[in-house]
Amino acid sequence: MTKRHSVATWFRSPSNLIASTLVIGGFLMTGVDEIWGLLMGVGIFGPGILREFGWLRDKDEFELRAARRAGFHAYLVGGLMIFSLVALYRHEEPVIEEPSSLVLSIFVVMWFTWLLSSLLAYWGSLKMARRLLYAFGTVWLLFNIAAGEGNWVTSFMQSLLAVPFFAAAVLANRFPRIVGLLLIGISVFLFFFFGWEEIFQVRPFTGGLEAIVLFLGPLVVSGVGLLAGRRETSAEVAEVEG
């Protein structure tokens, strides 16, 4: 099965299609009224609930096991985060300027954990790291093209920032340890360069933690994945790439 075929298969699945429609529709409708955010929740968690009741049978046993393990990992990380925050806020007078951002941050951390655990189950650490880098580079590329506001020279120059991520993905299989160390180093540099250590403070909590998780998370995880992963043979890469 090729990658394109697997993506097409994913979209052909009625449950995935309905869930995606609910998430996108819910997100768009929050512009009218925030209450429509409920639809996003139904789209994200509804299929999993139906599967657990046995009313939706669109996953095989390996996929179900991966989803359940990922859910357990998200529960562990989310639970630890919640208990840490509760202990911190009970220890001192809570200063939470954006309560909904705090809740959203917890959800983003749990979702990110769930996503990484799922990817790890399907691809292993090395392949997960390489594909995260490709995905991160693509998102960065599209973001910079859009930010260029029609000026193609600006768009092109800003797009070059995505090149290191694609290069890292290409070089990752050949030099996983070096690229892994580089990614972790870059993450630490960006963390302090953008002054994110101030956002990372939870007292006062002003939101923005989710931005750090979603921006630096893929880089850190890719780096760790490359350091921890076993280098694959070319035959293994060809076999899985299909």
Binding site: M1, D60, E61, F62, Y122, E239, V240
Partner: protein
Amino acid sequence: MKPRHDIQSHVRRHRLRLDLTQQELADRVGVTRQTILSIEKGKYSPTVGLALGLARELGVSVEELFELEGK
């Protein structure tokens, strides 16, 4: 300490013997290609039901498909 039951898989060898692709075998037993790949690489130990299904499609016994590592 509880004992570990790590499984060594011979699915790939028997699949290639019958000249089947991973996708063809996956279709026959009703799982995804990713599942067959994970079983062949030893990353996933199938349930008894799927192991029996694989054994039937590959024309061998379950014991010929899987064995305990370090046996």
